[in-house]
Amino acid sequence: MATSTVDAESLLSIDVGSITTRAALFDLVDGRYRYLGSGSVLTTAYAPFHDIGEGIRSALDRLQLVTGRVLVGGDERLIIPSKDDGSGVDTLVATISAGPPLNMILLGLLEEVSLESARRLASTTYARVVDSISLNDRRKPEDRIDAILRLRPDIILATGGTEKGASQSVLKLLDSIGLASYLMPEDERPAVLFAGNQALQDDVQKSLGKLLRLQFAPNVRPTLEVEQTEATQVHLSDLYRSVRSRKLSGVEELDIWAGGGLMPTATAFGRVIRFLSKVYDPIKGVLGVDVGASATTIAGAFNGELALSVFPQFGLGKSLAELVEYCSPEAIARWLHIEMSASSIREYLHQKSFYPASVPATAEELHLEQALARQVMQMALRKATSFFPAKVMRYGPLLSPWFEPIVASGSVLTRAPNNAQSLLMLLDGVQPTGVTTIVLDQNHIAPALGAAAAINSTLAVQVLETSTLHNLGTVISPVGNARFGTPVLRLRITYEDGREVPVEVKQGSIEVLPLPAGQSAKLNLTPLQRYDVGMGGAGRSGGLRVVGGALGVVIDARGRPLKMPEDPARRRELIRKWRSTLGC
């Protein structure tokens, strides 16, 4: 069932997540591409099915019900390309994040050079780095061999040696991989991606080529100063797909349906963020945040340059039981406006990891779930920011770079009971600076558009231009230093009907200026106390036109980085106040 890329019109996307499998349909309506609907069911990658096909079929059934279009024929096969009677689709794209993260071993010469690049690359897909081998590794060769045998990596990413640089030391490190692979059963040997000194390709092929699946990518560190990871990221995506196909039933078939273009969901999400960064203000970046069950993904794109980071350890599903290895329950509790003991938080983490698909039914559990989302976003962003290009514009080294817009995905954010809760989670977790728009990918279609962009860029552009992404509002986050309660910004909003509203904003507060979707207004900003509101420097005033959103214009003057009172009672009181202001 090959996919036609010629004259493709309608497009079906399938995303196999760790909890949910979604099928979404896009087609031309009045000459422009639109999102028509989607069908979601529980993923069947796990026992007793062990086959994603069951879930895909059920999701397609749902989609047929929702859209009224026949997609599956009487022979139980997907109808592709579409027929004259309107049934079927012309193109299919697919993304996947289901299944445990891949185990990856990194190999490089120098800790701070090639191994650092390898680490950066490993973080671009659903993988856990289980070991690293470098010149600094003091283990004996046999101990490295035993470690590889014990850890059973899915992928070994080998880097090292600049062009015309080191060769023998790289080959010596690779010896352990060859010997360990030789000792493994053939079907359990790892795939090796070599992205080191290109002059070694023949030698590497000779020593490893007959033993295991070997791929070559351009040198990630052609010189000590230059890092090039983009091409290797593509190879890693390919390897992810091939390992998943080998270990999970139904993946190979889905890949065939998608014309060999099945990609990791995070990769596709990153693509759409990169695409947006070419469309929006080149001075600012575009940020994508996806808080999923299998991982939290951070995609920062700056004028076409993408920094993608995937954190399986920060997923809100099975991995939650291990979250306390990365942060204390007290760090999670500081986001709560209700009292909750550290032991209750620990218990919740375990219970949610036992039942990743379950949802909070009580207000108390919802608050905790949202606190977890804040915490994982913050931890993921802190790590991801170190991978952003050095040249990005930001107010300070510890602060979030300038972004416009911020695209948020993941059911904890998109399925929150109201828009204010979604926004406050993002304001706390991301802590944007300056002026930015925050939008929600309510239907989880960003990965589909990213995957579609390669074969039908018009579709991606036109669907993004429609109101598919839900605009939460324009956020203004002044940056500076002042005591709590000090006025830091005077603002005047002029509505389309000429009405003007002046507002004075104090440090530590949140203000909301209603501006419904579909309307626009002019803002005049006059910072006080030499605060910076993104008008060209500290203390600079300026005006800008903003469009409306669910919450209008929100001024978050709580400070960057957000510092909350140490006293728990006072902190909870303050959070309650912020929630009340926003209408959570």
């Binding site: 796990y46 026992a47 046999e142 030789y182 032991s343 108390e364």
Partner: protein
């Protein structure tokens, strides 16, 4: 909608595939009767290796060292055996530092796989070997009561069950762990004192089944030498009534505990099996179930976590929960007669 399933069954046929992670040696035969702790397959899973630099030890270039290597791949060698040499006036040799097997010999090196104890795969439950799975393991079949849990410490054992829990939430305190429990499997309600676990190892007991356990005890429970299975929750929660009833009415019966961790991807779950003879109509438990009215269900999340009841009605469309979240839900008649609304994803069907 597909339902998540937990098995709490007074009598069922059970078939479990027990496989090594890599090819090894299967040591049972088809039709053989096994107990939970019987070894069915073994493998030298992560043997240690030793790389000997022959060229360097003999003080020769690599190409001159190879002709002096006296062993080849596959050879079993004992500590002290000559592996290479003699060379030179001093008749320099390289001897095997330990017992092992030669894996690679050449290019101036010898890679030895050292002898070590094999990893043993246990049957996990008493039964009959229904089939062999190549060089990986076997399928074990039995009949009996089955109770699945949520957490296990990756150990396997069996023994007579002593019901210490007088009620589903009865705390298992250290003073209850006396010498009369030696060699038995203990059923407790909730445990929060590490001393109870420690005493279990000292007596020693053969296993512990709990409804719930304090989160702080998990690292400790991973280290005790006997299997620990938590049936319901980490934290304090009464054991679910269905499991408590079934277990407490089987006091002094032999039970087997397979406390492997819950792995949805691999389809493994901690399980308690009480071997019982099958009746004529005993069948395998259903693993794939759609939600339907009349089903017995277990609620997994607050505010009714751990309660059991009957699914009376699947609500149409989406329901707004007290948390404000909209989701598919069902009306449940709890065992105490209360009617409540619970999201479908927070339910497990008991079959």
């Amino acid at each position: 909608m597909l339902a998540q399933v937990t098995h709490i069954l007074p009598i069922t046929l059970l078939r479990r595939e027990r496989l090594l992670s890599s090819p090894g040696r299967v040591v049972v035969r088809k039709g053989q009767k096994v107990s939970a702790t019987d070894v069915i397959a073994e493998i030298r899973l992560n043997p240690q290796h030793m790389l000997l630099d022959i060229a360097r030890s003999l003080n020769l270039p690599v190409r001159e060292a190879d002709p002096n290597i006296q062993c080849q791949a596959g050879d079993q060698v004992s500590q002290g055996d000559v592996l290479a040499g003699p060379v030179g006036f001093t008749k320099r040799v390289v001897r095997a530092p330990k017992n092992g097997r030669v894996i690679v010999a050449g290019e101036g090196q010898i890679l030895l796989e050292l002898e070590g104890p094999p990893v043993e795969l246990k049957a996990g439950m008493p039964g009959i070997v229904a089939d062999l799975v190549g060089d990986r393991g076997a399928i074990i079949e039995t009949s009996g009561a089955l109770i699945q849990g949520v957490w296990g410490n990756n150990r396997i054992d069996f023994g007579l069950m002593h019901v210490l829990a007088r009620s589903p939430d009865d705390e298992l305190k250290p003073d209850r762990m006396d010498v009369s429990l030696r060699g038995s499997v203990v059923l407790g309600g909730y445990c929060r004192d590490p001393q109870s676990l420690k005493l279990g190892g000292e007596l020693p007991i053969r296993g512990m089944i709990l409804g719930s356990m304090d989160a702080a005890l998990l690292p400790f429970a991973l280290k005790v030498p006997y299997p620990v299975i938590i049936l319901d929750a980490v934290g304090r929660r009464p054991m679910n009534p269905a499991a408590y009833k079934l277990l407490s009415t089987n006091d002094k019966r032999e039970v087997s505990l397979n406390a492997e961790g819950w792995d949805r991807f691999a389809g493994k779950r901690p399980e308690v099996v009480i071997p019982l003879p099958a009746s004529g109509n005993t069948s395998l438990p259903r693993d794939v179930v759609e939600f339907l009215p009349g089903q017995s269900v277990l609620v997994t999340r607050a505010p009714y976590a751990g309660r059991t009841g009957t699914l009376s009605n699947i609500l149409l469309g989406l329901t707004v929960l007290p948390s404000g979240i909209k989701t598919q839900a069902a009306e449940i008649r709890l065992d105490n007669g209360d009617n409540v609304v619970v999201p479908l994803v927070n339910l497990e069907v008991l079959v």
